[in-house]
């Protein structure tokens, strides 16, 4: 297995979507190749950083407009449904 093969399989490797033999081949390469280890590790961290990031609170005017629009709509019943307060 070569470095370019690692890059090709990187997404499936990180998503644990590879069969066992391909995974083993990649891990054998990673033991020997520091550059690929760094690429795999920093790509994994990239995903984790975004995945764990908390969305910011809505800006107050944006939230106010959203909730006003919803209140207006929620006052009207959906077809066939009687709203409960």
């Amino acid at each position: 297995m070569k470095c370019k093969d690692i890059v090709k399989e990187l997404a499936d490797y990180l998503d644990e979507a590879l069969d066992a033999s391909l995974r083993t081949s990649i891990e054998e390469h990673l033991v020997k190749c520091k550059d690929c280890r760094v690429v795999v590790d920093t790509t994994k961290q990239t995903i984790e950083i975004f995945c764990n990031s908390e969305p910011a609170p809505l800006p107050s005017p944006t939230r106010e407009r959203l909730h006003q629009a919803l209140i207006k709509r929620l006052r009207r019943p959906r077809p066939g449904i009687t709203p409960q307060a």
Binding site: D35, D41, E54, R63, L70, I81, P83, Q84
Partner: protein, 212 residues
């Protein structure tokens, strides 16, 4: 009927990453006409949906409109939600459609999401510096949020949107393909490219010694 009251505190105390176990109960109640149950769902997901529409449209006004339309559409079509997926996944799909309509309207020359895209070139990472332990801790939370927002905005839409759905919203490859009307290989190749590009962009902030 009393006017619905939306609780601003609740939304800001719920962990955004977790789909709460009571989601099906809230959805069932909302479907049967309990408006407070729908309000609870809005409070739970408004921040995530706004980040989603913001990341797709890259325009504050469009993002706000798309979010609002998504929640209103979800309410309108609630009876059509059959529970075959998580409610949140269904809501994300509605929000993605609304946001994509805005994006296409504003940027008529934008690369179509379903165009074939060359993902083969420039794939080999050039910068392979270690980030060291806990690179995020070198930044304040607001500073980090600004960095993440900046680097994702620099991706082309086809890559940005696939990354958003797969790695931020945690949709499966199949759900992402379905939501964007793409093939599974197309989702996978765009995701790989997006991850590598983001890694490269974050490298300037997170490599050891970058902000010391």
């Amino acid at each position: 009927m009393n006017s619905p009251k939306l609780d601003p505190v609740q939304a800001h105390t719920l962990p955004s990453q977790v789909v709460k176990a009571d989601e099906p109960i809230l959805v069932a109640a909302a479907k049967s006409g309990d408006v407070s149950a729908f309000e609870a769902l809005v409070n739970r997901y408004e921040r995530k949906i706004f980040r989603l529409t913001q990341n797709i449209t890259q325009n504050r006004e469009d993002a706000e409109d798309a979010m609002q339309e998504a929640f209103l559409k979800a309410y309108e079509h609630l009876s059509e939600f059959e529970g075959n997926s998580r409610f949140y996944t269904w809501l994300v799909r509605i929000a993605v459609n609304q946001a994509l309509m805005k994006l296409r309207r504003r940027r008529s020359n934008v690369v179509s999401l379903d165009d074939e895209i060359d993902t083969g070139e420039d794939m080999i990472p050039r910068e392979v510096e270690d980030w060291g332990p806990s690179p995020m801790e070198r930044y304040e939370q607001t500073e980090l949020a600004g960095i993440l927002s900046k680097v994702i905005s620099e991706l082309d839409p086809p890559f940005r949107i696939v990354f958003q759905l797969r790695d931020i919203e945690q949709l499966s490859t199949e759900e992402t393909a379905d939501a964007l009307n793409l093939s599974i290989p197309a989702v996978k190749s765009r995701l790989l490219r997006a991850r590598l590009k983001l890694r490269q962009k974050l490298n300037q902030y997170f490599r050891q010694g970058a902000n010391s």
